[in-house]
Assembly symmetry: C3
Homo-oligomer: 429 residues x 3
């Protein structure tokens, strides 16, 4: 009974057209050109490396895409159990007519060629979006991205601000800022003007959010004007040689300024909380970051209180922070739960975390899922994974445990999967 | 099979008469007088506020109960998914013949009137207790409560001590203490005498426990007599201007003294661990507190070792602390697991936490549930929620997974739901 | 459907012959001689004590084994719900023809006698291993264990190093080190030589791993040579009077040296992370340790980066650390997940933790389970508990949720239960 019910609910959820509220898609090359693009996703390279593939096998220069793909596939046997591997197989089956349930040395080249053929179509990205029922995706743009040459209603800009907050001491970052804004920055006021100019630029190009990822020890705080000014001046003069305390103060000032701009420009501020960068120093590209689960949203108390006008869609890296997230979203009007991030983006963690949110956070304040993808092909298997878990929760915890009717359960699913994304990010569908 | 089994076990659990071991019931007005009393419960006001209802809409003076109820109901649409909303509907159905599954602008006034009619009966509180199978409820009394005018065998006093530990610096608190005890307090010895007098008063009125809620950073410790004396003297002289270190020392002294009194007066000491007060400063009444899940029971090591004669029923606010709680209760004879508190009082967390306790903590050392309610009507839906989860755990994890027979499983349920409450709090049923 | 499927998978898993990768078996007396040996396991004494049995009842000198067993059994009623109690009953049923489902004052003496009769067989240990399908067990040997008098292919040595790292200041520990190695130790170099000599001794006797348990606040770090030398010299001269900072530096030096020896001798280094010793000071023997769940694998960042050649099978005491463990094993090639330790060794925690690992960690990098047992009889019920949970996960989360076929699911089970143990510890079966 329960499995049929789950299937019926899944089938209805699967009809919903989607807006993906957080991706790393390059709008000028949104889809893969070969299977190597897909296999180069850090989930495959890092898992293959973790299971024994030397990094140099795939990071040496001059490898052709086919060689690159072949080398990774050769090392995927040990990761066939992972859900990330299942994304790959589901994608191959859905898009390229793949019939098997694993890639082997015998079948991969045929799969590679079949994929290439389809991917060579001029409208391949459109095909992927259509088959994936994707109406639009939200990007993650560098602060100096010109945002030119693509349809910003389909590829919706989002201002990524990690570099501004954490790496402003680097001369290159300040140079890029100067080039984008044509504004000189040498103190707190001019920095604020430059940041404001970025918001003007982004908003005029249809941006719908500001976003940042944050380490576990970051605690936003308002910096007094004089203190901020001293810090920014030192940063501009001494760069990465600036006193670490000054660099921290400058980071706090920039972060707070971003929140102020979110008020002024009426943008949500996506906070992705909890990542430690470059923990595994010899890891493959994008496969070096991890986390410390000892983080608390109490660190954001001052911020949430100071900015009632800003909506903060929040992702947490550790599932052990999920109860805090659900509780803070249940109390703070401006806190919204946002998807299942990275190391928490696996069925066991999604099931626990989504169930806890669905039963305690107002349904209008939950963004169910985003793919975090770099290539369009990944939306389909990732959203399908989420929809399967969501169907399980809705059937078991709402229809069976709480006697909801199926229609109401499906409507709840639709709201967190689609409607809230539109409303919270003010996206006109 | 599993759902029928679960239903059979639930039906047996549902026959058990209850003693609710922790509530905030006012024994002089234990039941609601209008639906506004029910809707004024902080779960509804804070969730409605979180979903968009401005605080002033319900906190302005002069609102009639009907207006108050109407305004909250108007904003409940976005929280219909929550389990807290389901308590409301189940209560309306069970007590007032409500036939729908949600409150709307079309049906709420009829529901309001129907509720009012029933609530106007002289014996309404008795009716609620009878229909809820409630034999008695444990209260949470201010330390200066006269404890007069009610049947203390049905409404069992419990000495709440938060103010004594954390707010003794406030002149009003010390004045209330002086008025209740007729004892002058100006140093550690006289403070101890006054506290002891409170215990005498409470015990003579049938109190069965001492209770306190504690912030995540509190670590009980014994304070040397001279140090305690200095601290209390400064507190009495300078009030809230006293040095914070002195205030902390005084808090530790009072807490330790309470534990000593629990030895002397043979009372359990309920510890509710992990709440941060007033995190959301503009939140509605009682809707401002949250938590930091970075707390450990290792902070209570000194206390548990120092007071083997005192039973500590312990509630933790964060589900991530539950494994520690279960483990400390498995090792320390004086540690008992106590219910599912506040932000952990939702089905997903209860299921995980109760399952972990039931399979590793001696069955005599588990208090299954308390309602934490302010009005009697809430016992029914809250205990029903718990009984449903308990029936699920007993059927799936004991009868199916461990081949228990149903009778033994039900007996385990009865023990944690009722028998342990009687025995641990020495309540004569 | 799901329960039949689970049963079929369990039956297949149950055919697998096992190597138990972590035990406390005494190879010279591996099996129990009476039921008192079984009931003396700390799980029973500590749970009985937690439920009310005074410690002196079982720790007084001169108790006969029968008296000892009787006293514990008398206090087991309150712990009949625990999974640890179920191990006892399953063991009695499997090995001694016990027919009931609980031990009572009426049946225990017959059970005691029946057990004694079987246990008196000369080949009892062999019988237990055969009926438990145990090919070999890995031991936990004191660093000065002579490793003589037993078959090291069946009872595989493992160098336990807690005392070297944390108690080298104790004169007795240094004396034992001197006696075993015949090397004088008075500075960092000679200490390194002595440690190296232990590795030579262990490896020549077939040792397959080095192991240590670590408190939550331990953060491995490389100590500069001069600093290490000063610390070791002070330790050797002043023993436990040495400055705590010197003792800490020496501990870090020893730990780092052990990792270096693991490189040289090509041994995995089992890290068991998170235990606080002697938290409950009046607890029964081995029933005093607990934990602080505020620990993070980020503390091991420097270690994991410094020793890519060493495999670190890692156990964590708190289930809340499991997501970090799975994530670090997914990223670091040298991190392997290892079993379900102590307070996390109960079905609810195993189910959550194993599911999260199975779907995100390469299948070659997961050691499913170890028994941690002191007597051979415990492998059977403990592994059966794990196999039941594993069958549940494989059936529900792989066959049903992810459409795997049963054979593949069973193969995954076999890999984590058996094959990985052989490969990771280089055990020739």
């Amino acid at each position: 009974m329960s499995q049929e019910l789950r299937r019926r609910i899944y089938d209805e959820l699967d009809k919903i057209r989607l807006i993906d509220p957080h991706t790393h898609i390059n709008p000028l090359a949104p889809a893969s050109r070969t299977l190597a693009d897909i296999l180069g996703y850090h989930y495959y390279t890092e898992l293959a490396h973790s299971a024994g593939m030397p990094r140099h096998e795939i990071e040496r220069p001059g490898l052709s895409p086919r060689e690159h793909a072949g080398r990774i596939i050769e090392h995927l046997g040990p990761v066939e159990n992972t859900v990330q591997y299942s994304w790959l197989i589901e994608m191959l089956q859905a898009f390229f007519g793949f019939q098997d349930d694993r890639l082997t040395k015998d079948n991969w080249e045929a799969a590679y060629d079949a994929a290439n053929e389809q991917m060579s179509a001029n409208d391949w990205a459109d095909q992927v979006m259509e088959r994936s029922k994707l109406d639009a995706v939200v990007l993650t743009n560098d602060f100096d991205d010109p945002l030119d040459g693509f349809d910003t209603r389909r590829f919706i800009p989002c201002l990524r601000t990690d570099e501004l907050v954490f790496h402003l001491a680097r001369p290159k970052v300040r140079e890029r800022l100067a080039r984008r804004t044509n504004l000189p920055v040498d103190d707190a006021d001019t920095l604020r003007e430059a940041i404001s100019a970025l918001f003007v630029h982004f908003q005029s190009h249809g941006a719908k959010a500001c976003a940042i990822s944050l380490p576990p020890d970051f605690t936003p705080q308002k910096v007094l004007p004089g203190r901020a000014d001293t810090a920014v001046r030192e940063l501009c003069q001494r760069g990465t040689d600036a006193d670490p305390a000054q660099q921290r103060a400058a980071a706090h000032f920039v972060f707070w300024t971003l929140a102020e701009c979110c008020v002024e420009f009426r943008l949500p501020f996506d906070l992705m909380i909890g990542v430690n960068r470059v923990v595994y120093e010899s890891g493959v590209y994008q496969g070096q970051d991890l986390f410390d689960s000892r983080v608390s949203l109490i660190q954001y108390k001052e911020l949430f209180n100071a900015f009632p006008q800003v909506t903060f869609p929040i992702s947490v890296l550790a599932s052990s922070t999920n109860q805090e997230l659900a509780s803070y979203a249940w109390i703070f009007p401006n806190v919204v739960t946002n998807g299942h991030w990275w190391y928490s983006n696996t069925p066991t963690h999604i099931e626990h975390d989504a169930a806890a949110r669905l039963e305690a956070v107002p349904r209008t304040k939950q963004i169910g899922y985003y793919s975090d993808m770099y290539r369009l092909e990944f939306a389909l298997p990732k959203f399908n994974m989420y929809k399967r878990v969501l169907a399980k929760i809705l059937s078991e915890r709402f229809v069976i445990d709480r006697s909801w009717n199926e229609e109401t359960a499906i409507a709840l699913g639709r709201q967190v999967l689609r409607e809230n994304v539109e409303r919270i990010f003010a996206i006109e569908a």
